[in-house]
Symmetry: C2
Subunit: 333 residues, 2 copies
């Protein structure tokens, strides 16, 4: 049995989507047990609307505290020991749960992962990984912001963890791993990536394909895209901001005249199908890798579907022993 905690406080859409996602998750995954941390009476009230589910695999832990989006993360995680997030992370740390899913404050999730759950043996830093859409399959970008100042050896570990994740959880055989740089030639780059490159090209446990320029990322030229947390954060947020801006501008263009409004109705269906591919949310949330357990951050505005995907993702992570592979890999290094 795999045990997954769902932190039900902090998401934009409240606890209701966590409950409905949990019910569906239990149905789809007979080998999964779920623990909901949050306001018990509220959760029980949502649960009372459902009948047809296996209650023996669902536990609720009442928590009195909440961590807000604007609280200083490290302080909040240290002080609010009875928050739904910290209680859940403690369960993972103590081995009572394998994974935790949260739609709460990213900062608090990152800080809590490090300070409450703790790093797995041999792991130098724990990167936040995001699946990003490309013209082909989604690629895993890491680190998306957990570690903004890193050494070359840390980037190398990110590459290894990302490769194991893509192979084990997303089923990509021998994932192509690339390092973000300002050019693809060996002599290009800053001191950090040049040193990391030297180490990466000697690694025979990786399918390292060399440098990747950011302009090539949307075209699916790599499965695992490695960057420090500063650059990765810049990439993931620009990806999000620019896509939204372009689509919003086009919407504005469509509404600007009668004929374009009519035309928009005709292209709508094809466009939706295309844009659906840009949506990586059905592949699960953003895992914080290298911890003693798994912590998955889902978008603040997640709905039931994201919770369900994240449950499947956690299950796949545990079943495929991703953490075991990471730890063994770093022990042998």
């Amino acid at each position: 049995m795999i045990t997954i905690v769902i932190d039900t406080i902090g998401g934009d859409n409240g606890a209701a989507i966590c409950v409905s996602g949990a019910i569906e998750g239990l149905k789809q995954n007979p080998d999964v047990k779920l623990i909901l941390t949050g306001h018990k009476s509220e959760l029980e009230s949502y649960l009372s609307e459902y009948e047809d589910y296996d209650r023996s695999r669902l536990e609720i832990i009442d928590c009195k505290e909440e961590i807000g989006l604007n609280e200083a993360p490290v302080h909040a995680v240290r002080e609010k020991k009875d928050s739904s997030l910290v209680v859940g992370l403690k369960l993972v740390k103590d081995g009572k749960a394998d994974a935790l899913i949260s739609a709460g404050s990213t900062g608090a999730i990152l800080a809590g992962g490090q300070f409450v759950v703790g790093r797995a043996k041999g792991v130098k830093r724990t990167p936040l990984a995001h699946l990003i859409p490309t013209t082909k399959e989604p690629a895993l970008l890491l680190d998306c912001g957990a570690n903004v100042d890193v050494k070359p050896e840390v980037l190398v570990q990110f590459a290894e963890m990302g490769s194991i994740y893509m192979e084990s959880v997303c089923g990509v055989k021998s994932p192509r791993v690339a390092l973000v740089n300002v050019g693809t030639e060996e002599e290009k780059g800053n001191a950090l990536v040049k040193k990391a490159y030297e180490i990466l090209k000697e690694k025979d446990n990786l399918n390292f394909t060399g440098y990747i320029e950011s302009r090539a990322i949307p075209y699916g030229k790599a499965d695992v895209i490695v960057a420090d947390g500063f650059n990765g954060n810049v990439i993931i947020k620009l990806y999000e901001g620019l896509s939204r801006m372009i689509l919003k501008e086009l919407k504005g263009a469509f509404l600007s005249s009668f004929s374009s409004k009519l035309g928009a109705m005709l292209v709508k269906k094809s466009m939706k199908k295309t844009l659906k591919r840009f949506d990586a949310s059905d592949k699960g949330g953003a895992p914080l890798l290298g911890l003693k357990g798994l912590v998955v951050k889902i978008h603040g505005n997640s709905k039931e579907g994201e919770v369900i995907s994240a449950i499947a993702q956690c299950r796949s992570f545990v079943e495929n022993d991703v953490n075991g592979k990471i730890v063994r890999g770093f022990e042998n290094a």
Copy 2:
């Protein structure tokens, strides 16, 4: 009289667009003299097609060598002293020209700017600046890749040079200057940006608005966007790659069915108008700032229009004494 060199070798569209751009540039700017460096016989042959222009303001300097796109930049600039680029840069260095425009190898232009023209007094590093499209006016992003490892004081100079450029050349009053970071809160960021922030917020010659996250860049939240050359390069190339990818995918969607093809015909006009705003090329090329003269890199695939815009840009740069302002600013620092 303002003298501008046009390097006519190295662009994808050959010397013809340089000649036609030069002819039109002479007409539009009666106070400008142009020098074309390149293959004299070829240039004369293109020129022979035009009659109605002031030949007294147009000079040709014959150059025997070419710098290819795949040559190691520093080596090429040092060895090929009779290339159209190096000859042109030498004219700027010697004060015989005020500015140079080139569509050739970016690496060679950057290296040549530094090694042939040289830095202006007090300038620590010379950033490559690009105007990038936003939902409002274009913003100036610098450094786009000239300096991948920098100190905080260098970022501060980038902010000051960018601000002077936007105010003097683009006519933006008191430009809003922002520093790229992973969050907008003061405590966020890597060591580099935190230190730069401390200095920037004390500068009373700048309208420094604090940190900017990359997701806010497309929405025009700042006029001058400051980053180190590594991050700036990642941003400019992702901007380019992602916009192209999305538009290509949408085109594919439009062609996927009969009704969407029909719809596409109806939205085409409104879309074109919108997408035109994403095109920053009519604002001129990318200036390499902080040199003893001005060097402007225009896109490899530039056409006549980009050459004309770049001539106006160089003229405005010189007329508004941007370099003088930069040097005086750094002397007083």
